[in-house]
Symmetry: C2
Subunit: 112 residues, 2 copies
DNA sequence: AGTATGCGCAACCATTGGTTGCCCTAAGGG
DNA sequence: CCCTTAGGGCAACCAATGGTTGCGCATACT
């Protein structure tokens, strides 16, 4: 059945700010809390908390360098997250399809 | 760019309990707060609140019948949600692919 | 009539996402 | 070498959300 795949991972990408952060990290190839917050509508501290969340589920990893902490996307883990998204989507899609087929079958029966 | 597609809709399916509720409503073809809560690890009131959320974004619709309130999935809206999931997934997937291509190109250059 | 049941409302609690303020420490410029 | 600047962590605080319990109301069942 597997509806509860990995709620931690899903809820990590569930937040719109975190999705935008992942987008930025992907396009820029990395960033710090400060650079990210400059391009987001929230403060550095908020971004830092989000980075903590993403780090805990392994979606990003950090490399301290001097007084900076550079974050980058963990591609393997993001790939896993993508897989889960499409898995849930596929499940629902299949069910919707089945429902539609049944509905059409009923219509056909009623017309005959 | 459209990373902020429809955060309302996304965050509605972002909650694990709500996803399981949608699953149940799809497989059973509908249900009430009480019947759902019987098959979920939360109370009827919690389920009722979630149903309120799903209702507000249009993912379910309700038909009052006597003292019961029967909820069912709005298939069109769920289809929209699925489309958004796969859209975000596809975006990230494309970027990961591009990064991988670049990485391989660099490797090839360094070997030559 | 009276009981049982489905539901809504309100109060309350914990967690989370957000803010501001403060302090520490590493870089950089006179 | 000292002092300023800038990145980042920590703590307090606030609002929203997901969860609970308790209660009251109205509809159905016997």
């Amino acid at each position: 059945m597997s509806f509860t795949i990995d709620d931690e991972l899903w809820s990590a990408v569930g937040d719109p700010i975190r999705r935008r952060m992942l987008d930025l990290l992907l396009t820029d190839g990395g960033g710090t809390a400060t650079t990210l917050s400059a391009r987001l509508p929230v403060t550095r501290q908020a971004v830092a908390k989000h980075l903590g969340v993403l780090d805990r589920v392994g979606l990003v990893h950090v490399t301290p360098s001097g007084r900076e902490r550079l974050y980058a996307v963990d591609e393997a883990q993001l790939a896993r997250a993508i897989a889960q998204l499409s898995s849930v989507g596929a499940t629902w899609d299949a069910r919707l399809r089945r429902i539609k087929r049944i509905a059409e079958a009923i219509q056909r029966n009623q017309q005959s």
